[in-house]
Symmetry: none
Subunit: 526 residues, 2 copies
C-alpha cells in the first residue's frame, strides 16, 4: 500500500545552502560563517556542498581558498557554482570559467539557460550560441579534470514553451560530458503532478537527472519527491529551506522522507539523527530564527498540546507521531497549557527530572497551572518558569537572590535628550547590594542593573545573555490597561531557557520574566 | 502538458483556523480575536468557517452565541466542531452533542475514530460500538436539521492497518446521512503518491469526500492537491498554516493553486486578491509573525534580490515569477522607487482626500514611506500615522499641541507597594501646561497625564478612548535591545484610527504612537 520508488544505485544529496540559500532576503554570510556551516552540512552526510560562485564575488573566491586548509570534510565533496561561458567567447579564455578551475573544487555545477525566451530576451543571444556555450564550457571543464553538473535554469517553464529546445540543452550537456543534468523549477510554480510527467519525458535523453525546486506553490518538498519517483538520482535543496522569495526545497525534509518513508539508505543513521542539531546550529549562524513548525526539526514538530491526546500518548506515543522523533534527533514535547490534564503535567515533570507520580501532588500542580494560565501565564512556551513553579510547589525552590526593590524611569526633555535609567537592590546570602544602570529601553536598563548588582556575588550571570524578548497583549479591546504577557529567552552558551511574566504593567511583567530568567539560570545551570 | 483535474460541481473550502489552527504552540485566542478573524476569513471567500468546539470550553460556546449577533458573513457558513457521542450512551442525551445543537451552527463537523487501534486502545471501546457512535450521532444531528460532516481521525494510518474497518466507518457515516466524510492525515506523515491511491480506493463508497492534512512530512499542500486530483470535493486547512506540531495545510496556498493553476473558479477573484491582506491581518491578531517566505502572501514571496535577475526582470517580470502577484494581493518588490509603490501611495492619498497626482511629490513621499518602513514603521496597519506623514510632507500639518517634555517611572519597593507615575508638559497655542498622573502601567500613566494636560484646553480629547495597544518585536535574536513596533487603536465613538511608533525603547515607541493618536484625533475629528 505504500508506494516506494526503487532506489537508484547512485544518489546525490546536493546542498546549495551556501550559494542559493544565501539569496534569502536578509541573510548575510561571512566566509567564516560559510566555513562553519559547511562543517555542519558535512555532519548531515550530504554528498555535495555547493560553496558559492568563485570569481563572481571575492568572498566566494576566498571561501574556496580557505576551504582547502580549513575544512576537513568526512562525507561531502565541495562543488563550485558558475555559469556557462559568455556568448561569442571561448570557455578556455573566459575569466569566470577560469575562476571555477582555480577554485580547485573537484565538482563544478554550471547554470545554463534552457528556456528559449530567456536565451533570446534575457541573455540576448541566439538559441544556437547558447547550445555552443553549454557544449564548450562543459567540455573544457571535463578536460580540466572536473566532474560537471549542469543546472538547466527555468527548465520546466522552458519545456512547456518549447520542449524540443529544452531537450536539446539537456542533450548538449550530456554529450559534452556532464555527469548530471539538473532540471530547475527556478520560478517555483510547479505542482507535483506535472513534475513527474515532465521528468519522465526527459528521461529518454539517458543522462543522470537532478532536480532543483523552489517553494512558490508551497510544494517544493513534494515536487522534489515527485521528480525522484520519476527517476532523478540527484536532489538539490537547502537547509531550513533558505532561499530567494519563498525559499528552496527544504533538503532535510526531502532527505528524511526518502530515508525514513521510502526506506532508502542515503546517509548514515547517525547523520540523520544529527539533523535537528545541525538545522538549529545553522539557524544560529544565519541568525534567522528556525520556525517552530518546521517539519522534522522544528521545536514544535513533535510537541503535543491537546489534553485529549496526552492520556493516549502515555499508552503508545507512536499512535500520535508519524516517525520516532529520535530518528532525526528531535524529541516529543508535552506542552503545558490550560487544555492540559494531569497526564500532561506528569509527563512534563518526568521530562524535567521530577517525580510527580503522586496523584495528589500532580493534581495540586495541575490546578495551580490552570489557575495561572487563566490569568495569562503560558507555560507551554516557558519551561524555565514552569520548573520554578514546580520546585516551589514541591518545596525545593532555593532562590539564589532576593529582590528588595527596583525602579526604572524614562525621560524625554525639551532639549531633545532622552534617558532611561534603572536601579535594583537585592540580597544574596543575607548581604544587601544596589546598582544603577542606564539602557536603551526600560527592560534593557533593568537587565543591566540586575546584572551589575549580581555579578560580583554570582559571577555566573556574566555568561547569561538575553536573546529574545516578546510582548503579547492578551485581551484586546482594553487599551493600555490590557493584560500583557512577556516572554524572555536567555542563554548561557550551551543552554537556553524561556521565562514568562504577566501583568497589566508591561514593565512589571517584564521584570518578573527577567528575575526568573536569572534565578533559573543560577539554579539549573550554575 | 499541464495536468488539470476536472472541477467537481460543488467544492468546499473549509477553514479550521479558529479550531485546529488554534492548537498551535503559543497561540491563544480570545473570543474577540476569533470574531475578528472570522470576519477576515469571510473576506477570503471560504465556504465554511469552523468556529470551535462548543461545550468543550466556555469560550467556544460564547463564540457561537456572540456570532449570531456580531458576525455578518457574506460568503461563509459557520460550522461547529464536536465529537461522536460517548460510548454506551445515546446521542440524544449526550451533553456534548446537545451543545453542538445549542450552538445553532447550521453545519456540524464530527470527529470520529477510524483507526482500529485508536478505538480499542485510546477510546477503549469496541469496534462495533464506535460504528454505533458514528451512526447514532450523525442521525441525531441530521434529525435536528443540521448538515453533518464527519472527520475520520487517523484515517490513512487506520486504512493501512485495517482498510476494511476504516471503510466501514466511512460507510456508517455516509449511510447515517453525513454530507461529507473527511479523510484526516492526523499525524501528517503521508506523501502525495500514497494519498491519491488511498483516496481513490475510498471513492467507491460513493459519498462526498474531504481531505484534512497536517504538514509533518512537509507535504500538506501537495497532499491536499493529490486528494483533490483523486476526487475529494472538500478541502480543510488553516490560514497561515497554523496548527499543532508542524501545522495544518496552508489553506491559501491550496486555494491559490487550485484557482490559479487548475483554473478552477472557487472564490471571487476579488476575494483571492484580498488574500495577502487577510493573512497579514490575521497574523496581527494572533501576533504570530507571518514568515516572509510564506508562499503567495509572504513579504518576500515576490521579492527579487538585485543581481543576475534584476535587469532581465525589467524586460518581462513574468519571466521571473510563477503568477502575477496582484492576483493574491501581493506585489513584486525589488527597487526602492518602483511604479507599484508610487501608484499605491497616490491611490491611498486620494482615498484620504489628498491630491498626489504630481509625480515628483508622490515619488518623494514614496521614498519617505519606504525609508520609514525599512526601519520598522508599518503604514498599512496605521492610516492615521500615514495621514500625519502625508500632511507633513505636503506642508499642511498644523499640530494642535506640542510636546515639551515627558517622563515616566515605575517603582517597586520592599514594602511590596508598586507605583507608576508620569508627567507631561505641552504647549497649546503658545500656552504651556503640565500634568502628573499615575496608571497601572507606564503607557497607561502617560495616557492619563497627556489627557489631563490637554483636556482643559482641547476638551475634545475627553471623548478619545484607547481601545487597543499592540507591541511587536521586529528583529528576533537581539534580546531587550530589539526594535519594537507599537500600534495604538483609538476611538472617539463614531470614528476609529490607528497610529504607529517604532524604536528600541518600548516606552518611546509607545509615546510616539500615543501622541500621534491624540494629534490625529484633534486634526481629523475635532
Amino acid at each position: 500500500m505504500v508506494t516506494t520508488p526503487h532506489a537508484p544505485e547512485v544518489f546525490h544529496i546536493y546542498d546549495t545552502t551556501l550559494r542559493d540559500g544565501a539569496q534569502q532576503e536578509g541573510l548575510r554570510l561571512s566566509v567564516a560563517d560559510k566555513l562553519r556551516m559547511a562543517g555542519c552540512l558535512d555532519r548531515l552526510g550530504v554528498t555535495f556542498i555547493e560553496g558559492g560562485w568563485p570569481g563572481a564575488n571575492p568572498s566566494d573566491t576566498e571561501f574556496f581558498q580557505r576551504a582547502r586548509t580549513e575544512l576537513d570534510l568526512q562525507h561531502a565533496t565541495l562543488a563550485a557554482f558558475g555559469s556557462t561561458r559568455r556568448a561569442g567567447a571561448t570557455a578556455a579564455t573566459d575569466p569566470q570559467v577560469q575562476a571555477l578551475v582555480d577554485s580547485e573544487a573537484p565538482v563544478v555545477c554550471l547554470v545554463a539557460k534552457s528556456h528559449d525566451r530567456h536565451v533570446t530576451d534575457a541573455l540576448k543571444t541566439t538559441l544556437e550560441e547558447n547550445l555552443a556555450m553549454v557544449t564548450d564550457t562543459v567540455s573544457h571543464l571535463v578536460e580540466q579534470g572536473r566532474r560537471v553538473f549542469v543546472d538547466c535554469e527555468h527548465f520546466f517553464d522552458g519545456y512547456r514553451a518549447n520542449p524540443a529546445y529544452a531537450l536539446e540543452v539537456v542533450r548538449a550537456a550530456a554529450e559534452a560530458g556532464a555527469e548530471v543534468v539538473v532540471l530547475c523549477d527556478t520560478n517555483g510554480g510547479m505542482l507535483p503532478e506535472d513534475m513527474g510527467e515532465i521528468v519522465s519525458a526527459v528521461g529518454e535523453v539517458g543522462v543522470g537527472l537532478g532536480i532543483h525546486c523552489h517553494n512558490d506553490s508551497g510544494c517544493a518538498v513534494a515536487n522534489s519527491l515527485a521528480a525522484v519517483s520519476a527517476g532523478v538520482m540527484h536532489v538539490q535543496g537547502t537547509v531550513n529551506g533558505y532561499g530567494e522569495r519563498t525559499g528552496n526545497a527544504d533538503l532535510v525534509s526531502v532527505l528524511a522522507n526518502m530515508q525514513l518513508k521510502y526506506g532508502w539508505d542515503l546517509v548514515p543513521d547517525s547523520c540523520l539523527a544529527d539533523a535537528t542539531a545541525v538545522c538549529h546550529e545553522i539557524a544560529e549562524i544565519t541568525n534567522v530564527q528556525l520556525p517552530g513548525r518546521q517539519p522534522y526539526v522544528g521545536s514544535s514538530a513533535f510537541a503535543h498540546k491537546a489534553g485529549l491526546h496526552a492520556s493516549a500518548i502515555k499508552v503508545d506515543a507512536n499512535m500520535y507521531q508519524h516517525i520516532e522523533p529520535e530518528l532525526v534527533g528531535n524529541s516529543m514535547r508535552m506542552l503545558i497549557s490550560d487544555m492540559a490534564g494531569r497526564a500532561n503535567i506528569q509527563l512534563k515533570g518526568a521530562e524535567l527530572g521530577f517525580d510527580l507520580s503522586d496523584r495528589e501532588v500532580a493534581a495540586r500542580i495541575t490546578t495551580t497551572v490552570k489557575q495561572r494560565e487563566s490569568v495569562g501565564y503560558s507555560y507551554e512556551a516557558s519551561d524555565a518558569s514552569f520548573e520554578l513553579l514546580l520546585r516551589d510547589e514541591l518545596g525545593v525552590l532555593e532562590l539564589p537572590f532576593h529582590i528588595l526593590d527596583w525602579d526604572v524611569a524614562v525621560r524625554a526633555g525639551r532639549d531633545g535628550k532622552d534617558s532611561t535609567s534603572a536601579s535594583v537592590t537585592v540580597s544574596v546570602a543575607g548581604q544587601e547590594a544596589s546598582a544603577d544602570a542606564s539602557g536603551n529601553g526600560p527592560v534593557n536598563a533593568l537587565d543591566h542593573a540586575l546584572r551589575t548588582v549580581l555579578e560580583p556575588m554570582l559571577p555566573r550571570v556574566g555568561d547569561f545573555e538575553l536573546t529574545d524578548y516578546r510582548v503579547r497583549i492578551l485581551e484586546q479591546g482594553h487599551g493600555t490597561d490590557a493584560t500583557v504577557r512577556v516572554l524572555i529567552d536567555t542563554t548561557d552558551g550551551p543552554h537556553a531557557w524561556t521565562t514568562v511574566g504577566v501583568g497589566e504593567n508591561v514593565i512589571e511583567a517584564s521584570w518578573e520574566a527577567l528575575a526568573d530568567a536569572y534565578a533559573f539560570g543560577l539554579i539549573r545551570h550554575a
